[in-house]
Amino acid sequence: MSIQPFTTHNRKTVILIASAVFLTAASPALAHQIEKHFKVEPRSVITIHNPNGKVIVKAWTKSEVMVIASHISDKVEVAAEQTGNRVDLMTHQLADTIAPEDLRADYDVTVPEDAELQIHDDSGEVSVTNVMGDMNVETVAAGVDLEDDAGYLNVKTVGGPFQCLRCAGQIEVTSISGNFRFLDVRSYHVSARTSTGNIRFDGEFLPNGTYRLKNYSGVIEVRFSPGDSFDLHATSLKGKVNNQAQLTPHNHGDRSVPKYGNTLFGTFNAGQAKVELSSFDGTINILKRD
């Protein structure tokens, strides 16, 4: 049998068939997508309530909120509305019973840098980049990733992990079993509390900053550089405290040795920042930065 040359006609047929196959395969993913734009004033408020899916928020310099939301199922719908200087995004469940995969909606939202965010995403993931306004993020199982954000950052999860990369401002985060990672942060106030999660802090200790890390079990790891300056108080009631910092006794002498637990306290360099680490039966490691 001779091989037929691949003519222009054949090529067109192949392209048409391939396109049809591609569109058929891709159509469920593109079933529902909305794109909306909202003009806003400075310090706008954006609220997002989503039971399941990705919520990705980025900042730009425009005074505008751009929302691209998609979902596969007909059993949910996405509402995007503006009221004054507030934009509300919400996934509505349209049926009483719904499969978990049908619940999913993904949001890609671009906001002004100074926008304030209120995000509620039960499962999936939340990622916020370059936003300077205050934010309140609540999840159950969803992980939360913040990058280059500032302002007052308040994050609450049940099991979702939390990571903060190059964040500034004031950070408060709580969880039951989520692990926390603070990397290259420049925050003057960090408060982190998780029950069974690990906490890793590898950031700057700013003068007059306060850094309170607390867990029930798991590991708390703090990295320091020779030039850092902090007052340290670390206690694990039932676990260990391992320390590589050369501490001198507190010069203000206001610490008495607690009766219970393994406690370590002292001053590193001038003691300008305040670092408090506490665990019930976890391990606390204060380690030199590599």
């Binding site: 039971p51 399941n52 019973t97 039960d122 219970y260 637990g261």
Partner: protein
């Protein structure tokens, strides 16, 4: 008539808020300005909470201020911590966002804070028995309220559309229950251990928050 102190008043607090005014509680309120102020605050919350259907409400700032002031006065927390946390306290956090907390949870939040404050002055040398009695007095009503809240919370995963979320909440609850048990054991063995008490009340608070979230499942997003 026999008089009761602030710790004992906690036992009568919830019935009082439900309209059952026990003579002991009434007598105590007549002579204790602090508890009277707390009841007034809770009354305000009750009124606000009833109006939640129309709009979101904030708890009176005075409530948090007075609870905080009490904690500072008792030496349980320092003023600087109050300043750092004033902007967004956990109590404020409970009320922020959508209104999801049952009124029982509101009482519980106040109760945990007050119980923590009344669980024993830390700067006094008092004997183990008094510590134990103080802890018992302060934790009993909290435990009772948590148990009641748990009873009234629907825990069936079938009611939730998202099993991942339900599982996470249940896992969280199991973790917190375990912590409560271990902390209670630790506190009963070392009743003057402030840190153990601190962890215990943290765990109570976490449980109350989780139960509020669990009871909220099913209504979300519709």
């Amino acid at each position: 008539m026999a008089t009761i102190d602030c710790k004992e008043f906690l036992v009568y607090l919830e019935p009082w808020m439900e309209g059952q005014h026990h003579p002991f509680a009434e007598a105590h309120l007549g002579e204790c300005a602090q508890c009277r102020a707390m009841v007034e605050d809770l009354n305000q919350i009750q009124v606000s909470a009833q109006a939640w259907g129309a709009e979101e409400a904030e708890p009176p700032a005075r409530l948090w201020t007075s609870l905080r002031a009490q904690l500072v006065e008792e030496g349980l927390i320092r003023e600087e911590e109050v300043v750092a946390e004033t902007r967004r306290s956990w109590f404020h956090g409970w009320f922020s966002g959508r209104p999801r907390l049952a009124l029982a949870g509101v009482y519980l939040a106040a109760l945990i804070a007050v119980a923590f404050a009344l669980s024993g002055p830390v700067n006094e040398r008092i004997n183990r028995q008094r510590w134990l009695a103080g802890m018992e007095d302060s934790t009993t009503p909290v435990r009772a309220h948590l148990a009641k809240l748990e009873q009234n919370t629907t825990l069936s995963p079938l009611l939730d559309s998202n099993p991942t979320v339900t599982a996470s909440l249940h896992d969280g609850l199991a973790i917190v229950d375990n912590h409560i048990a271990l902390c209670e054991k630790s506190v009963s063995e070392e009743p003057d251990n402030e840190m153990a008490r601190d962890f215990l009340f943290d765990a109570y608070q976490q449980k109350a928050e989780l139960l509020a979230q669990l009871s909220d499942r099913g209504g979300y997003g519709r």
